[in-house]
């Protein structure tokens, strides 16, 4: 069985993943598809906002999310002493 620290590490990882995937879902499925009509009443430059999220904004957010996750995980790796090298 895993020791407590390893279990705590895994739970912290799961919380972080859940947080990141919530944002992932929000910018693509909610802003880009489900609420696109409501958001389209706003403009971002020449873009309708919902259209912008669907074809531009969601992709930028995905990139930021992965680096954010990688950075938070490297902090967690050290905190729970499971890092490499």
């Amino acid at each position: 069985m895993l020791n407590e620290s390893a279990q705590a590490y895994w739970r912290a990882n799961l919380r972080l993943v859940a947080f990141c995937l919530a944002i992932w879902f929000l910018v693509s499925y909610v802003f880009g598809i489900l609420m696109v009509e409501q958001l389209n009443t706003f403009q971002l430059g020449g873009y309708k906002l919902g259209f912008w999220f669907a074809q531009q904004g969601s992709i930028y957010t995905f990139v930021i999310l992965i680096f954010f996750y990688a950075w938070r995980m490297s902090v967690l790796d050290r905190k729970y002493d499971v890092h490499e090298d």
């Binding site: 895993l2 390893a6 590490y9 895994w10 990882n13 993943v17 990141c20 995937l21 992932w24 693509s28 499925y29 880009g32 598809i33 489900l34 696109v36 009509e37 389209n40 971002l44 430059g45 020449g46 873009y47 309708k48 259209f51 912008w52 669907a54 074809q55 531009q56 969601s58 992709i59 930028y60 995905f62 990139v63 999310l65 992965i66 680096f67 996750y69 990688a70 995980m73 490297s74 790796d77 499971v82 890092h83 490499e84 090298d85």
Partner: protein
């Protein structure tokens, strides 16, 4: 030979010489180098290679064309083929890298303790990969048929030869370095024309900004508003709100592509090639940075191509007798694409002018009839030609057009090579060494995988000669298959300690079974048109979801079936539960071993 053709030969020839040179310089000597490049690839370099591996003919050639005609609905491809990297970075890549083996079926075989799971995984992998390769072969054929002015078949044979040389010789090590060169070629090829066109239309150098800016014609009208107006004036749906069938269909389609991206074996094995677990996380991020460069440009390319195309044909006021292009005065690019058969005009009302409008819109068709229009005369506009024709439509210089050809070929070849490697490794490493001939020497295994790869090239080439559907449509299907079989098995293997052999196998078979049933029911068994069945059920009968989007439903079926079956069967043995605990922490990830 005219100037453009000569330039094209020079540019394409030079890039091919570069790829083959790199492959010879980096040829693989060991199975480790052949399968995973000896695990010594820097995360940024690996990200770039992953981007090239993964951005296929569908991304390069087809996607902007699809966006041009689907408008807002094209977002399913944009979000679907990028969002999967978030899933990959958080749910699969670091853990599979920690596990430290060569292939995806190897993980499934070990995690679900036995050859039966491994064989099912190999089967799913081969079906998904072959389907995907068909799409690449179509892309290669389209690119060659137009620009080298050879037939589609000759272009395909040439492409097969090139892939054979560098993939078979180099293995993963050769492919990785070749793909870095291919990424550079394809991203230049994609962005340079986009920048030119964006400058032309809006005065903005960044297409991402140009798409959201005002037209440079002094009208002050926003580019997207202008496009909306031009297309609705001809009876088409407003560009920025045109959904793909329905909101639900778009939701499911996007989900299928995302899960499928994360489940495609040739993408996953890229993350076995980085030195450490934490490199697998950042490498996914870098891959997405390089992919996003193209994917945020594509919406601008699509929208601007559509605007240019409409304006080329509808030269004046809609409805005025003089408002349409005279067929005899059509531009050179129009004639060139007509000879390929991918663009067709039919003078229905015999006035010698081209009317391009939406005759399926009854209200507008009635109005058009009053003007003497007797139906849409652009009877065929193959969406796959849009990116390749775009620089010509926008009157860009010949060297830009030559680079676009090289870029399209780079995209198709890099993906084909990556897929062929995934197929070859699953045959030689999983089937031969893992199951049927465990005592095979490293030398023989290497030889077997080269033979398997050559065999896969021939099968892919044959299927490329008889391709079903649009390149992107075919590829979307491969994503559905990967989504419904491989991704759920991998994810549950990491996140659910209780998941056992019976559950995983039942889940995979149920997921891929349901997906294939739906797809083949619509498109015919093995895409043979006459082999459809249950036609009386109608099109998209399940909640209005199209077959290409069905992978997400298959994935849900997979998860549910696997969970239920695992509940009523015995839990996995203790050493498997230790294995799961082991992959969940980064420490102790050594260099991988073959078994």
């Amino acid at each position: 030979m005219d100037n453009l053709q000569l330039l094209t030969y020079i540019v394409v020839g030079a890039t091919f010489a570069l790829y083959i040179g790199i492959a010879i310089w980096a040829r693989a000597g060991t199975t480790g180098e052949f399968y995973v490049a000896g695990k010594g690839v820097h995360p940024v370099a690996n990200g770039m290679a992953t981007a090239a591996d993964w951005m296929s003919a569908a991304s390069f050639i087809s996607m902007a064309g699809l966006i041009a005609f689907f408008g807002y609905g094209g977002a399913v491809f944009l979000m679907g083929w990028t969002g999967g990297y978030v899933l990959l970075a958080m749910l699969l890549a670091p853990y599979l890298r920690k596990f430290g083996k060569f292939t995806v079926p190897e993980f499934i075989g070990e995690r679900y303790y036995g050859n039966s799971a491994r064989i099912v995984a190999v089967l799913c992998l081969i079906i998904a990969s072959i389907t995907y390769v068909i799409g690449q072969m179509k892309g290669i054929g389209v690119a060659f048929s137009r620009f080298l002015e050879t037939s589609y078949e000759v272009g395909l044979y040439a492409g097969m030869g090139i892939v054979f040389i560098y993939a078979v010789l180099g293995g993963m090590k050769g492919i990785t370095y070749t793909q870095i060169a291919q990424y550079v070629v394809l991203i230049f090829a994609y962005t340079i024309p986009a920048i030119f066109i964006s400058l032309n239309l809006t005065g903005q150098a960044f297409p991402q900004i140009g798409l959201g800016s005002a037209m440079a014609d002094g009208s002050g009208q926003m580019m997207l508003d202008k496009l909306d107006q031009v297309v609705t004036d001809l009876g088409f749906h407003e560009y920025t709100t045109q959904a793909r069938l329905s909101g639900l269909n778009m939701f499911v389609y996007t989900m299928s592509l995302m899960i499928g991206t994360a489940g495609l074996p040739h993408v996953i094995i890229r993350f076995f090639t980085v030195p450490r677990v934490r490199d697998a996380r950042t490498s996914a991020g870098w891959a997405l940075v390089f992919i996003a460069l193209l994917y945020t440009t594509a919406p601008a390319v699509g929208a601007m191509a559509r605007l240019n195309l409409m304006n080329t044909i509808q030269t004046g006021e809609v409805g005025a007798a003089e408002g349409n292009l005279v067929y005899a005065e059509r531009p050179q690019w129009f004639k060139n694409w007509e000879t390929t058969g991918l663009l067709k005009f039919e003078d229905k009302n015999g006035d010698g002018r081209i009317q391009y409008y939406n005759d399926k819109n009854p209200e507008f068709a009635a109005k058009a009839e009053a003007w003497g229009w007797q139906g849409n005369e652009m009877v065929k506009v193959d969406r796959d030609i849009m990116v390749l024709a775009n620089p010509e439509i926008a009157n860009l210089p010949n060297w830009v057009i030559a680079i676009v050809v090289a870029g399209g070929l780079a995209a198709a070849l890099s993906t084909a090579a990556g897929l062929l490697l995934a197929i070859a490794s699953s045959i030689s490493h999983d089937l031969l060494k893992g199951i049927f001939m465990p005592n095979i020497s490293e030398r023989s295994e290497l030889m077997a995988s080269r033979i398997a790869m050559a065999g896969a090239i021939f099968v892919a080439g044959y299927l490329g000669l008889n391709p079903p559907g649009f390149a992107a449509g075919t590829v979307a299907l491969a994503f559905g298959l990967a989504a419904s079989s491989i991704f759920p098995a991998l994810m549950m293997g990491i996140f659910n300690k209780r998941m056992n052999k019976a559950g995983a196998i039942a889940g995979m078979l149920a997921g891929i079974g349901v997906t294939l049933f739906y797809v083949f029911q619509h498109k015919g068994i093995f895409f043979i048109k006459d082999w459809t069945y249950l036609e009386s059920w109608g099109q998209n009968w399940f909640l209005g979801i199209e077959p290409n989007a069905f992978g997400a439903i298959g994935a849900v079926v997979n998860f549910v079936v696997a969970y239920l079956v695992s509940k009523i069967t015995a839990p996995p043995p203790e050493h498997i539960q230790h294995l799961v605990e082991h992959v969940r922490v980064p420490r102790g990830a050594g260099t991988a071993t073959g078994h």
